[in-house]
């Protein structure tokens, strides 16, 4: 039931993008269009979730290559990622309405963000390797214009860097796909063709035993290559370059969604193509674990040293994503990783939106400038503090639960050395996280005010911001309801410089995300049970 809805989750955003691109009258009701598309996809994903709990819906579009059709399948992993993706996309999109200036560029941003949604849905629901690869490439192509949005020299060079890292990584993945095709069980197996995902892997037993070393090298390179999207060392270079220049909603999209797709692809390969039995206990597993541990540490250190807030958050993403990868490469039970995927998305989105809100309202990009911000933007700063605490892993908040699972699984896995190293590095990194996130939060709340010379500059910026706001309000005459809400804070900012919260369209996503960080931390058990149900213990390597 409902299998035909799966391609619709790709077609609808795509159609939306085309509508924005080619139909000028529609552009006025752009926001409504976005919300409608997002709501539709969300509803479909929810429906798919309900369906997948009973039976897995699948659909074949057409034969793409010999033995390899374009094939979609809504299993639990797919649905989890799809739901997460839509939610994150919606929150960053709602935020972008406020953040971006109106005009030609906003249209372009919207077109590509809709295209990105289509590609993301494709990656989530794809049921064989080639389909995933196809949408993975589409995702790269749809998102690099978002990085280049500002069109400054730095933005364009960052976009190119992002593109090259992604293409190079994806191509390593493609080489791996060729190898996997050659080593897969011959003959068609079910609707998905030769490369269809199957829990535990689809490799042909006879072939892998005879010539496993070449395949192991290929799989290792493949995982390293796909690690580029997930920001894993050594292909993480694009992340810190892209984030500072991209507009804040695009940053949130990159770190909340795109890195997660890298992880999804890796999960698909490790658990559904080669199978944990194949790489468990080999040099490849240890090498990958070494890389993730290195990345966790390096990312945290770099974040700690970084002065620019968004860049700091980007480095933090590098390190946090590798928590997830470490949990995956331990190969016994990825529940902790799944939890961290969800929680990190929520928290990092929250933090990026906070940083964005500060930039929109005060233009402050550096961490040092955050002193005394708590008085001016109490709500934003509260949200930031909650997010920071959650990411460090303070118990009633979300991050604690996932780290707990990753650490305990690692300890119980019996992997030599790494069963100790992984929990230790998690603790070290948590300390560093506290350093780089709680520092600015403390400054914001407890340091009285910013230095004098910055004050004058701010005043000038405030007047600019007001002008911008007034013109924005004027442009929004159509949306009468929203205008009312916006008018309320506007006079306040003119009256006193002390309080200048961002508009409701930023505050509402902030509130929801902060609430989610708390709720997930307090009641994680339904999620834990859901994720534990994903995997049969029968194919763990023993």
């Amino acid at each position: 039931m409902g299998a035909w809805l799966i391609p619709m989750t790709i077609v609808t955003p795509f159609a939306g993008a085309m509508a924005v691109a080619f139909c000028k009258p529609l552009r006025r009701s752009l926001r409504a269009l976005h919300i409608a598309v997002g709501a539709f996809v969300l509803a479909t994903a929810l429906l798919a979730l309900v369906t997948s709990l009973q039976e897995e819906a699948e659909t074949v579009l057409f034969e793409f290559l010999p033995n390899v059709p374009l094939y979609f399948r809504a299993d639990s992993v797919a649905v989890t990622f799809a739901l997460l993706t839509v939610c994150m996309w919606l929150s960053s999109t709602v935020f972008s309405f406020e953040y971006l200036a109106h005009g030609e560029r906003e249209d372009r941003y919207n077109i590509f963000s809709l295209l990105a949604l289509a590609a993301l849905m494709g990656v989530c629901f794809s049921g064989n390797l080639v389909t995933t690869y196809l949408f993975y490439e589409m995702m790269t192509l749809a998102t690099f214009p978002l990085v280049m949005h500002e069109q400054t020299k730095e933005a364009i060079s960052a976009g190119m860097t992002y593109l090259y890292y992604s293409l190079a990584g994806a191509f390593l993945g493609l080489v791996g796909i060729f190898f996997l095709y050659a080593y897969s069980t011959p003959g068609s197996r079910g609707a998905g063709g030769r490369l269809m995902y199957r829990a535990g892997g689809f490799l042909s037993q006879a072939l892998t035993e005879s010539q496993s070393s070449a395949l192991l090298v290929a799989v290792f390179l493949m995982l390293v290559g796909l690690g580029s999207k997930a920001g894993m060392f050594p292909l993480h270079g694009w992340l810190p370059k892209a984030h500072p220049v991209a507009p804040a909603p695009a940053s949130a999209l990159l770190s909340g969604n795109i890195t997660k797709m890298g992880i999804l692809f890796i999960i698909r390969i490790v658990y559904y193509c080669v199978g944990p039995r194949f790489i468990g206990g080999t040099w490849a597993q240890y090498a990958l674990l070494t890389l993730t541990v290195l990345t966790i540490f390096l990312g945290s250190m770099l974040a700690f040293r970084e002065k620019v807030m968004k860049k700091r958050l980007a480095y933090s993403t590098v390190s946090q994503t590798s928590y997830i990868l470490a949990g995956i490469y331990i190969l016994t039970n990825p529940t902790g990783s799944f939890l961290h995927i969800i929680f990190h998305s929520v928290i990092k989105n929250l933090l990026f939106l906070c940083a964005g809100a500060v930039i929109v309202k005060t233009g402050k990009t550096k961490v040092a400038e955050w002193k005394g911000l708590g008085r001016q933007m109490p709500f934003t700063m509260t949200a930031f503090t909650i997010g920071g605490l959650a990411l460090v892993g303070i118990p009633p908040l979300a991050g604690f639960v996932s780290k707990w699972h990753i650490a305990t699984t690692a300890l119980g896995s019996g992997t030599p050395y790494f069963s100790i190293i992984v929990p230790v590095i998690l603790l070290v990194s948590a300390l560093l996280t506290a350093g780089y996130l709680m520092g600015p939060a403390a400054d914001a709340w407890f340091v009285a005010k910013a230095p004098e010379h910055a004050e004058a500059k701010e005043a000038a910026e405030v007047s600019e911001a007001e002008v911008a706001e007034v013109s924005e309000v004027a442009a929004d005459v159509v949306e009468a309801t929203e205008e009312k809400k916006e008018n309320a804070p506007a006079p306040e900012t003119t009256a006193t410089t002390s309080k200048r919260e961002a508009g409701l369209r930023i505050l509402i996503p902030l509130g929801i995300l902060a609430a989610a960080a708390i709720v997930f931390g307090l009641f994680p058990n339904p999620l834990v049970e859901f994720f534990e149900g994903f995997y049969l213990p029968s194919y763990w390597p023993m």
């Binding site: 793409f64 589409m138 364009i156």
Partner: protein, 498 residues
């Protein structure tokens, strides 16, 4: 249905006869005749394709019903008919796409000359595809060279004349080698038709006589074709010839002319020498090495270009390298991949040239990458075409280039030598990244808006060009998505070859 067997011959004859007829017609009518001939030849090829698919076997057609060794034969199988159809289609689209520029670039009194050359080129391409006789092949290679040369210099600028001279010298060198090779083969086998020649060669190899002359002849043939199709070390004539010609010329030259020669080489391998003997005298290894070198160095040269026309031309060197690499694998899968790449590259490269001309307004002085900045906003459909062509060349899924890369990689796994396997995969990887560097960079360049909206006006899009670009894009998508039947046809065609 027997009468369909006449169709390949009709197509060749029609194209040849229309040349002299066009010479007395004014340009406008010559154009109509030419379009009509290309369309008719395409339809005849479609019928032939349907016929051979229906009967499931190839047929030979004796001209004037004289049997060998006196008469001349042509032969049509699935592969021949398919290639002919495809070539006609590409030629038609290129002519339509560059139609506006042809009228501007070429002096009015020479317009009919252009269409004569087109007809001649079509005739020679069809003959190269269908011929069953090595010497006929040679004759049409020469005709092809002359026609191509004319197409290069028809614009009449200094650069074109220079390019045409370069092309002429290199091409004649290649033809000379081919002629020597054919003479040697005739000397040791006593035949010119492909089947008897193949029989004689198998005998020679079994007996162990004349092995040196045979090796030399095969080597000369390959080098001759390599020069004419711009395999890596012999590519110096290519960038000028492709980069500065008029739109239709560039598109046709880059996508069809070299492919006609390559098709003859495939026939030579399969029908004259036999793939086992090719492997025995290790020609395949040599071609493999040069193919790989071409893939890398072609792209490296392309990166260094500031002129986008030359950049696209150099990328042809890289793509030709792919094709020879597939020959070098010397397996059926490798050959299928190469043939598919011939189609994929033709579709992509002609699209790129037509779009580039759309972006520059047909003036190569505008083809510098600085001047092209933001050009996609001045001519949207050409911008889209350029982007699609570029992505196809890089190998993004859903487009033709990706499918051929997948075929190449799968072919690599079928090779027994592990070295070749690894070299192929590494070369594919490196070449993809190099391709991405210049093609994606250029696509972003044309989509980078200018800061001020001063200066260059919008380029008007003719309806013809719009249609051609859209059809080209669809063709690329079709090859990328629906490669399955084409794959089967190529497989079937190669089976009929053997």
């Amino acid at each position: 249905m027997e009468w369909i067997r006449n169709f390949p011959f009709f197509a060749i004859l029609l194209a040849m006869v229309s040349g002299p007829v066009s010479s007395v017609l004014p340009g406008r009518h010559a154009r109509r005749v030419s379009f009509l001939v290309v369309i008719t030849s395409g339809l005849l090829s479609v019928c032939t394709l349907a016929y051979v698919l229906y009967t499931g076997e190839a047929f030979t057609y004796q001209m004037g019903a004289f049997p060998a060794p006196f008469g001349n034969e042509i032969r049509a199988g699935v592969l021949e008919a398919m290639t002919a159809t495809f070539f006609c289609l590409i030629m038609l689209l290129s002519l339509v796409g560059g139609y506006r520029f042809t009228a501007v670039d070429i002096a009015e009194d020479r317009e009919n000359l252009f269409y004569i050359l087109i007809n001649l080129l079509l005739a020679s391409l069809l003959a190269l595809i269908y011929t069953n006789d090595l010497f006929t092949g040679y004759v049409f290679i020469e005709i092809n060279t002359i026609a191509a040369c004319g197409l290069i210099m028809i614009r009449g600028w200094g650069r074109n004349l220079l390019a045409a001279t370069k092309y002429m010298i290199m091409s004649l060198l290649g033809s000379g080698l081919l002629l020597i090779s054919i003479a040697v083969l005739y000397g040791i086998t006593g035949h010119l038709l492909m089947e008897p020649m193949h029989g004689a060669i198998v005998d020679i190899v079994e007996k162990g006589t004349y092995t040196e002359p045979l090796t030399v002849a095969v080597g000369l043939f390959c080098v001759g074709i390599a020069i004419k199709s711009a395999l890596f070390p012999f590519h110096s004539w290519l960038p000028d010839a492709y980069g500065y010609s008029t739109c239709s010329s560039s598109a046709i030259l880059s996508s069809l002319v070299s492919k006609g020669y390559i098709f003859l080489l495939i026939k030579f391998f399969y029908r004259v020498i036999g793939t086992d003997i090719i492997h025995q005298i290790q020609v395949d290894d040599v071609l493999f090495v040069f193919g790989i070198a071409g893939m890398i160095f072609g792209s490296v040269s392309a990166i260094q270009q500031t002129d986008v026309g030359r950049m696209i031309a150099f990328s042809s060197v890289a793509q030709i390298g792919y094709i020879y690499m597939g020959f070098g694998l010397n397996t059926e899968a490798g050959m299928i991949a190469s043939i598919f790449h011939i189609l994929a590259h033709s579709a992509g490269k002609s699209l790129l040239f037509v779009s580039l001309n759309g972006l520059t307004g047909g003036n190569w002085e505008n083809a510098n990458y600085r001047k092209l900045r933001g050009a996609a906003y001045r001519n949207r459909i050409a911008g889209v075409g350029f982007a699609v062509g570029s992505l196809s060349m890089v190998g993004i899924p859903l487009l033709a280039g990706f499918t051929s890369k997948v075929y190449f990689a799968q072919a690599a796994f079928g090779v027994s030598s592990t070295t070749k396997q690894l070299v192929t995969l590494v070369a594919l990887a490196v070449s993809t990244i190099l391709n991405a560097m210049y093609f994606i960079g250029q696509t972003i360049n044309i989509y980078t808006p200018l800061q001020r909206t001063e200066g260059r006006p919008r380029v008007a899009v003719g309806r013809a060009m719009w249609t051609a670009t859209v059809l080209f894009i669809l063709l690329n998508l079709l090859l990328g998505i629906g490669s399955e039947p084409i794959f089967r046809w190529i497989e079937e065609g190669l089976r009929l070859f053997g």
